[in-house]
């Protein structure tokens, strides 16, 4: 018995490895995904090494140097309080990365289990979860985040929770849809037939098979999280000053648009490049892992 299963499992492992290699090769050939990957890498390095790249406090004001245009001393100029915009853009990457990871974590933590349970059990459980999802989807994502901020209040933590909850219905719908098709597969039926517990079926058999759309959505969700959080910051109801947050920087730069447009220009470029990176990577992953959904 052991002699026959071992080569079989080795063959399965080899096939999974070669599939992974093929996908990796495809991903590397995909120019858009490659470019997206590079943008994400630059973004991650900037966020992680911010104190090395820009030593000093990015929030320390220097009113003698307020609203200076880009120069050798301050390559991106200074803001209304004389703070280096380059320094604040660099440190802003840390804040936006923290938000993006936090938001996706909230979305995954709540959305994936609910989607799995809803799709697997069906019936009343599914009905209940789907009606709640319908209600949340009745509001455009950004508005839902806005409504939640109105209740929870401003700040970094509440921005993460609000934007995270606004992503939950997307994950629920996505995972539920995939679970519905996976639960009909023979291997799930076989697992049920041998008396495997539901929890084990959900975690060992269904979850790994719905990981592809979750991975794609996670990449696209990171971009969306950065945009939503920056939007809240811009409106003055997200992360609060003096924390260097890209959206809030843009919001304060609005007042100086006529004489010092550089204050609002550079944080916007940073948001755009970070979101573009995640969108390109998400699109690339979709092309490689799930070509049926190519747009």
């Amino acid at each position: 018995m052991t002699e026959t299963t071992q080569p079989q499992s080795r063959r399965t492992q080899r096939s999974a490895d070669s599939q992974l290699k093929r996908n990796w090769a495809k991903l590397r050939r995909n120019k858009a995904a490659f470019f997206g990957g590079i943008l994400i890498l630059i973004y991650l390095i900037t966020a992680l090494l911010a104190p090395v790249i820009f030593p000093g406090n990015p929030s320390a004001p220097n009113l003698m140097r307020s609203l200076e245009r880009p120069s050798m001393r301050h390559p991106l100029g200074t803001d209304e309080l004389g703070r280096s915009i380059l320094g604040r853009v660099i440190y802003g990457s840390r804040v936006s990365l923290l938000i993006a990871i936090g938001v996706v974590f909230v979305g995954l933590l709540v959305g994936v289990p609910l989607g799995l349970v809803s799709g697997y059990y069906g019936g009343k459980v599914d009905f209940g979860i789907q009606r709640v999802t319908d209600t949340l989807l009745a509001f455009p994502g950004f508005l839902l985040a806005l409504a939640l901020v109105a209740v929870l209040g401003v700040g970094l933590k509440n921005t993460i929770i609000s934007v995270g909850i606004s992503m939950v219905p997307i994950y629920i719908r996505l995972v539920r849809g995939c679970t519905l098709s996976v639960r009909e597969q023979t291997y799930v039926e076989a697992a049920k037939a041998v008396g495997t517990r539901d929890r084990v079926i959900l975690l060992r058999h269904i979850l790994p098979n719905v990981m592809t759309p979750i991975t794609i959505q996670t990449s696209l969700g990171m971009g969306m999280a950065i945009l939503f959080a920056a939007g809240l910051g811009f409106l003055g109801i997200g992360v609060q000053p003096p924390t260097p947050e890209w959206g809030a920087m843009l919001g304060s730069g609005r007042a100086y648009l006529f004489n010092s447009p550089h204050v609002a220009t550079f944080p916007g470029i940073a948001i755009f490049l970070a979101v573009l990176g995640f969108n390109l990577a998400g699109d690339g992953l979709r092309d490689v892992l799930d070509p049926r959904f190519r747009l």
């Binding site: 950004f142 409504a147 939007g231 409106l235 648009l257 916007g268």
Partner: protein, 306 residues
């Protein structure tokens, strides 16, 4: 058709009830006493007691929800904490501005997005396809409020062609509607391209071509007609995105719509107005989706009989 419309209308009831629950619990989720929040920090104990009684907060929760629902169906959402005007009047006065902006933006987005998607699909993997798909991706990744500010810098500050904000003439509409359109045009282009590529590879398109029909006829009458459902869906869905974008665009251009009203209300912690604007946004979104479903039934008669 009437049966389909009624069925579709009935299906919105659970969502409407869900929205009412969300709005009901919104005030109750606030830290502290909702009556205190509504009355403000300077209110006396008697004032708070009166508000608590007026709102029915001294009664069982199920009775409170019943009272809330009965007020909601009469569109009675109380008075603004800032202006003391009825909330519905505040919202109603600004609603036409938001709808006007949204309709202008979606029209512009369709006028550009659908032809761009068709051209990209007809010439897939050529420079023009790459140009349009790259533009679409850029549009999706660009923060709408930043684009708005950059347009102000170019067209209002440098060139001085257009006003930087406010209302009054058709010129005031150009920058906000272009900004909002750029936000959704990307999705429309991508979806049109994808569904056109699929339609162009179907047997009926090959048959149409083999009959010797002109390419223009094949594209418009055979492929586009069949590709319309996903395009209409995405246009409908984008309307929601557009409402979210309107909040930001209206703030950038000082456009007096409900998007700006909700931001001002959040900043002033004017909860009755926040509730009112969220309700209107939710209703608008449901109505648009309902309208999109009606259009499906016209585009594809099979849907009516399902």
């Amino acid at each position: 058709m009437l049966q389909y419309v009624i069925k579709r209308l009935l299906s919105t009831i659970p969502v409407l009830l869900g929205i009412s629950l969300l709005l009901f619990f919104m005030l109750r989720m606030l830290p502290g006493d909702p009556a205190q929040v509504l009355a403000g920090q300077m209110a006396s104990v008697e004032d708070i007691k009166l508000i608590r009684h007026q709102l029915g907060l001294d009664r069982p929760i199920i009775v409170q929800y019943g009272l809330f629902l009965s007020r909601l169906v009469r569109f009675d959402l109380g008075r603004s904490a800032r202006t003391q005007n009825p909330v519905i009047r505040e919202v109603w006065a600004r609603l036409p501005n938001t709808v006007l902006l949204a309709v202008a933006a979606i029209t512009l987005a369709c006028l550009f997005g659908i032809p761009a998607g068709i051209i990209a699909a007809v010439r897939p993997y050529t420079w023009i396809d790459y140009l349009f798909t790259s533009m679409a991706l850029f549009g999706i990744s660009m923060p709408v409020f930043w684009l708005g500010l950059m347009l102000v810098v170019i067209f209002s500050v440098v060139l001085q062609w257009l006003p930087a904000g406010g209302t009054g003439s058709w010129k005031h509409m150009i920058l906000p509607s272009f900004t909002l359109a750029a936000f959704v045009v990307a999705f429309i282009t991508r979806m049109t391209r994808a569904s056109m590529i699929e339609a162009l590879s179907q047997d009926y398109t090959t048959t149409a071509r083999s009959k010797g029909l002109k390419e223009r006829v094949v594209i418009v009458k055979h492929a586009l007609k069949n590709a319309l459902i996903p395009i209409v869906t995405v246009v409908g869905l984008q309307f929601g995105l557009l409402l979210g974008g309107a909040v930001l665009t209206e703030t950038v251009f000082a456009w007096p719509g409900i998007g700006r009203l909700i931001v001002d209300s959040i900043l002033a912690r004017d909860y009755p107005v926040i509730q009112g604007t969220i309700l209107i946004f939710g209703l608008l979104y449901i109505l648009v989706n309902l309208f999109v479903d009606m259009i499906y039934a016209f585009i594809d008669p099979r849907i009516r009989y399902d």
